[in-house]
Symmetry: C2
Subunit: 357 residues, 2 copies
Amino acid sequence: MSDASGGITREELQLAARNHGMPLEALRLTVTPPGLHYVLTHYDIPVVDPTTWRLSIGGHVRRPLQLSLEELRALPRITVTVTLECAGNGRALLSPRPVSQPWLLEAVGTAEWTGVPLASILDRASPGVGAVDVSFRGMDRGVEDGRTQNFERGLSLAEASAPGVVVADEMNGRPLPAQHGFPLRLVVPGTYGMASVKWLDLITVHDRSFEGYQNATAYRLRASEDDPGEPLSRMSPRALVIPPGVPEFPSRVRHVRPGRVTLRGRAWSGWGRVIRVDVSDDGGRSWAKAAVGEPPGPYAWAPWAFEWDVGEGEHELCCRATDETGRTQPLEPSWNAGGYANNEVQRIRVVAQADRD
Amino acid sequence: MSDASGGITREELQLAARNHGMPLEALRLTVTPPGLHYVLTHYDIPVVDPTTWRLSIGGHVRRPLQLSLEELRALPRITVTVTLECAGNGRALLSPRPVSQPWLLEAVGTAEWTGVPLASILDRASPGVGAVDVSFRGMDRGVEDGRTQNFERGLSLAEASAPGVVVADEMNGRPLPAQHGFPLRLVVPGTYGMASVKWLDLITVHDRSFEGYQNATAYRLRASEDDPGEPLSRMSPRALVIPPGVPEFPSRVRHVRPGRVTLRGRAWSGWGRVIRVDVSDDGGRSWAKAAVGEPPGPYAWAPWAFEWDVGEGEHELCCRATDETGRTQPLEPSWNAGGYANNEVQRIRVVAQADRD
């Protein structure tokens, strides 16, 4: 289902009013606080009583488990700094526009997630011989394709066992906020956000491919509605810049004074380290290399900076990340039916005027 | 400027992706946490160093003041529980739609704001004879009508001196989050959110009417672009219900089982106590009275509940608040050029089906 007219529909607006991106000026911060970190909730945010809540691990395992929040918190813990991005980031830039949450480019954030490594929980439950997939069920319920269901998404056992994958009860050193999955969520570094199931209460090990709605139907790169497509996994590279100067209300065109402007931003990729960021001020016709700094960890965005000599007039500012695998960002989007993984370069209109305050 | 086509424009979407409403299931909570409380930022969220930041009070006063955060925090403090609503709440329901932040009905939240009563600060500065208005400048800067300016809005001296008006450095018992005005904001109970200036650093007392952009041009009820209009002030009454059952993705139509469903919600008015909430399940043709509970304070929303006997089929659920002054909510909006103060009743499509899970 897509909308060719260009105008965002009431249905999409309902989602845009509930969910929110990270205002891009928050790229100044290495770690994004809740309230600025992007939030995408498919259904309603569930109200969970942490005293009766339990995490169950079952299915194709030798030792099914049930853990209270207290029991979970007593296990050895890790903290990972992870950049999460919604798979639909960039969707509203596509034409025709697939109808879902109409993200522009703000569906991202980086947080410090603390909890128990998923591998150690799986290890305790001991997956049976022939285990292939692991699914994660959230407590959030809704109707998709005519069926009432919980949000549930699967990973391969190999993906689930990777270091860095954590069942987290803390975000930035405090209990998870309701909208980020209280009391417990999965965090899967490097992978689009749909894998990081919130309000987690059930982990199921499968001896065959998990074919739940969010794996088999949603979150696939499909050329058309009929194409079965390929599953989405790792985040494509993306660089974003803090919009320079001041915004015009309501257009958000940027106004700067001509002269030297230090541009700063962040860049990430789920496929490997970002090794290069390029900047253009003519809409992508010419590029210059930015200085890329150290990320705060292997799963988080890297800072970058660029000294921009701004001439009087209008400019179309762009930035582009390239990772160590050679993956980079296109100047034009590649369309798909679900509107996923559009990592076309960011474009910002900047007006430089000397007499500006 | 308005858009008759119905489709939300790219410009409006840029605002909707940054700002966010309160997901209506958060009406369960008396006090709204940051991240769920609505946020509307006109320009960029400024980055403020609290060690060098000062609050200045000047203009038509006998004793101009400068206060550090530490000095402010040493003054006698109060905590007020305040429901804040954006003046543009309901804007996107209007037709033609005035182009600005396209709110549906979620631009609301209730928080506990702690800080110094504004009256006591004004008292220290001692307004001169003939003082009439007080303006509040935020540190957020942007371009409106071609002029670069800080957000600044004024109140009459009487409004500014009212009990409950506070310059707050804490929200819900913690330092203000960046997006709610760190390190200091004004909170004006009963008045639409534009009065509660964030990132406050300058208070100016005036011996004539304050004619800044946000008072003289924006935030006025105008019949047309040419009409000078009337200033906006207190919040019109509104009741909202927690959407029952589970949502369909992406339409957010609600699905419930037929039978008894307890509806709960909150209602508020800036003009006086809410004394009545009515509920309709036929789009406003017939109404029944809900039970209204005690608000957590004189400036905050009141809880309400209604036992709904849901028949199989489709229903249009509505609710309507009436306050002690007799003000209530219309079934149809009254249009104005800025799209402000549209308190038409909430309408939710609910499908009741016995075989639903």
